[in-house]
């Protein structure tokens, strides 16, 4: 009897999950709120401030999507997820999208049945060591103890890198970035490895940042981006093009300061007009109001503004644009045309 109940529950769950996957956009509109999966806290990318309001680079993507779909950047229910619970949260329909420093990999896209809707941050895995260790290259780390977050791609990259260079290491598994930081400072490991953005943020919080160096090797490609469930392409399009609109807005010179003015009437730049809905019907094709991109950009500004405000050089994290500059400035950001 237990077994039939179990199977019955599975069937019901499968059916309803299938039904939910079919029309996330309608669900979100009906609910009036976007359920967005974020990290339980990563400096600069997502963390609540002292008033309990979520702030950060990934959070801005959630807010932009909420603004595009619902017209209100605050209509977001942030669902904090850990590295282990994030995929089940998305697959089970608990969240509509995940904007959680997730690396786009083949298996996550194909095998886990998710759809990455773009890349909002090009990252790569690096190593941080204390200066007095006297190491200047990651290849000199033979026999080192390495602090590493479990359940992440960094764990696998680390194994690959050391195997490729035929050197050995001793892993020290940790759960969160905060724990890694403390273990590293306490000397539990010789080197701490994670995405280089995370390393920069971690080092910025040290009492003496100058005593630690980030080694020049970047041992992996970590394209981080928002993702949605497989099989709901309309919803995937909404998230993808909201992200693209932020990137395109920077390229086209649309900022949170001038977006209202540019959207008030059709100007002489056709692509800006199409983006902001003063020309054509792009919004309608997505199933959104014509001013969807205006709302998305007005929420937090364009990609460059979001970057500068949360993780850019003016913040304590102080990341340079690097690969995340527009393609016109030698970076990799390249939005397909709005036409």
């Amino acid at each position: 009897m237990k077994k039939t109940i179990f199977l019955g529950a599975l069937t019901v769950a499968g059916l309803t999950a299938g039904a939910a996957a079919a029309a996330t956009l309608d669900d979100v509109k009906a609910r009036g709120k976007l359920n967005c999966g974020v990290t339980t806290g990563l400096v600069g990318f997502a963390a609540p401030d002292s008033n309990g309001e979520w702030k950060g680079f990934d959070v801005a993507v959630c807010r932009a999507v909420a603004a595009a779909v619902l017209g209100d950047p605050t209509a977001v229910e942030f669902v904090p997820t850990t590295g282990k619970t994030r995929f089940t949260a998305l697959a089970s329909g608990e969240v509509d999208m995940l904007a959680r420093n997730t690396t786009w990999t083949f298996t996550r896209d194909v095998d886990l049945k998710f759809e990455f809707t773009g890349i909002n941050y090009y990252d790569g895995q690096g190593f941080m060591v204390p200066k007095d260790l006297g190491v200047s290259s990651a290849k000199e780390l033979d026999g080192a103890t390495v602090c590493i977050q479990t359940g992440t791609t960094t764990e696998l990259n680390l194994a690959d890198f050391f195997r490729k260079n035929n050197i050995s290491y001793e892993p020290v598994p940790i759960e969160t970035n905060a724990e890694g930081q403390q273990q590293y400072l306490a000397g539990a490991c010789d080197t701490y490895t994670t995405d280089s953005s995370g390393l920069a943020a971690t080092r910025a919080a040290f009492e003496n940042p100058g005593d630690h160096v980030i080694l020049p090797e970047i041992v992996s490609k970590e394209p981080l981006g928002p993702l949605v469930r497989h099989g709901d392409n309309e919803w995937g399009d909404v998230v993808r093009w909201t992200l693209n609109s932020l990137v395109a807005a920077e390229e086209l010179g649309v900022t949170s300061a001038n977006v209202e003015e540019l959207a008030s009437a059709a100007g002489d730049k056709p692509e800006v007009n199409r983006l902001l809905g003063t020309e054509g019907n792009l919004g309608e094709q997505l199933g959104l109001p014509a001013d969807w991109a205006v709302k998305a950009i007005a929420a937090n500004g364009n990609y460059g503004e979001i970057f500068e405000k949360n993780i850019g050089e003016s913040t304590p994290i102080g990341l340079a644009r690097g690969l995340n500059a527009q393609w016109t400035d030698g970076g990799l950001l390249y939005s397909p045309p709005f036409r």
Binding site: A9, L10, V12, A13, T16, A17, A20, D27, T39, T40, G41, L42, V43, G44, A46, A47, P48, D49, S50, N51, G52, V79, P80, T81, T82, T85, T88, A89, S92, G93, E94, E175, T176, N177, A178, E179, Q181, Q182, A201, T202, A204, A205, F206, E207, T315, P316, I317
Partner: protein, 432 residues
């Protein structure tokens, strides 16, 4: 005065000596120090070593603690103020105390509600803990869960009211039928309560919570130490009756009841709590339809209660086994039926023996509630590990936050353990 002995005795004292204080080595603090700290040279050496270690600890801790900074807005400012001096950065506590206590999403204008519920908790617990108090206070204890629920979650008052009504009606039905048969009363009461709850669920309109007197707060907004307290108190109080039932069930002569209880206890005790929590968070989400899933808080309460009740059942089974067989036979020979014998003779004695074990489980369980931080619930430890350490302002403050967390937990656990010692002394009725 006679001269009889004037030649045989050289000197006779004619007055008493004034009372003298004892020699300094035989009384007062000096003697205490000598007896307790330096009785032998080996012990003296140990004392000196111990004093040195204590000095070293305090010399490290006190400047850090007393030199703490309380008023800055971020860790960087703290370091600026300290200028390289040793000192704690307690500003994180003044800046984020409300998040540590209530979680970061509980609306700040409603902080009085959980606080009031916390204060009322003592009123409700008092008659349970101290049985010299008037028994009428137990009425409030019975009402407390519903009041606390309403205060913390808010929303329509009809939800807790219908829950309360269900219990009352269930009890009345039980009272009516229990005279003819215990089973009829027991199951009749349960059925009646379920009927009331179902009807209540239909009658309360969907949007009843929207304009309620207390604004509704969803459970995912609960957090901080409040969440630990709520989980601890709910799970301990639910698992105690459940544990008693399981322990009695395990001793039952009915094979079905016995085996269900044995399998349940052995299974739950054989699985780590963290596994059950992952099941609550991750697996159950697949079985409930999306959106309508049972509240995460409730799922976690169910899992922790199951876990704790299995342990409490084993503790109580120990108490039952410790009773001499004569006590059971005494019950039988008085002509008491099973519930009466249990209620009047066996359980009062068995529970008394089990108090230390039960308290041990309760303290352990209360501390285990911090495990929910692993499944992304923001209890006290979850708040520290997640949002606070991940904020740009406070990234890098560890000692201060975890010291605060330990202090909170220590106060509660020490209180529980002191109470249980008092209770044991109080219940000491035999003449051992």
């Amino acid at each position: 005065m006679s001269d009889t002995h004037s030649e045989s005795v050289a000197y006779v004292r004619e007055s008493f000596i004034e009372e003298q204080p004892a020699p300094i080595t035989a009384a007062g603090p000096f003697k205490w120090v000598k007896d307790n700290l330096f009785p032998t040279w080996l012990n003296g050496l140990l004392t000196i070593v111990a004093l040195y270690i204590i000095y070293q600890l305090l010399a490290g801790f006190l400047p850090w603690f007393l030199g703490g900074v309380w008023t800055t807005g971020s860790l960087a400012e703290c370091r600026e103020v300290l200028q390289g001096e040793v000192g704690a950065c307690f500003s994180v506590l003044t800046d984020r105390w409300h998040q540590l206590l209530f979680g970061f999403t509980y609306p700040s204008e409603f902080y009085w509600r959980p606080t009031l519920a916390f204060v009322l908790l003592f009123v409700a617990l008092a008659p349970v803990l101290f049985f010299d108090l008037p028994r009428k206070m137990l009425i409030f204890t019975g009402l407390y869960p519903f009041i606390a629920f309403w205060l913390i979650w808010g929303g329509t008052i009809f939800a807790p009211l219908s829950a309360l009504l269900g219990f009352v009606v269930g009890y009345l039905v039980y009272e009516k039928f229990v005279k003819s048969s215990f089973a009829a009363g027991f199951f009749g009461g349960i059925v009646a309560a379920i009927v009331i709850w179902t009807v209540g669920g239909w009658l309360i309109p969907e949007n009843a919570s929207e304009n309620a007197m207390l604004t509704a707060v969803p459970s995912r907004d609960l957090g901080g130490f409040m969440l630990n307290m709520m989980l601890g108190i709910t799970c301990v109080s639910l698992s105690l009756p459940l544990g008693i039932a399981l322990a009695l069930g395990r001793q039952s002569h009915l094979p079905l009841v016995k085996w269900i209880c044995v399998v349940f206890i052995e299974f739950v005790r054989g699985v780590p709590l963290i596994t059950l929590l992952f099941v609550a968070n991750v697996m159950l989400a697949y079985f409930f339809p999306p959106g309508s899933g049972v509240d995460l808080f409730l799922r976690v309460v169910i899992m922790i209660t199951m876990f704790a009740s299995a342990y409490i059942a084993e503790v109580i089974r120990g108490g039952l086994a410790a009773l001499p067989k004569g006590q059971y036979e005494a019950g039988d020979s008085l002509g008491l039926d099973y519930p009466q014998a249990m209620r009047l003779i066996i359980l009062p004695q068995a529970l008394k023996i089990s108090i230390p074990g039960i308290v041990n489980v309760a303290v352990g369980l209360f501390k285990d509630t911090t495990l929910v931080s692993i499944i992304s619930m923001f209890d006290l430890v979850g708040m520290i590990r997640g949002p606070i350490l991940a904020s740009t302002d406070w990234n890098g403050v560890y000692w201060e936050l975890f010291l605060f967390a330990s202090a909170l937990f220590f106060v509660v656990c020490y209180g529980i353990s002191q109470y249980s010692q008092w209770l044991e002394r109080r219940l000491e009725t035999d003449h051992r």
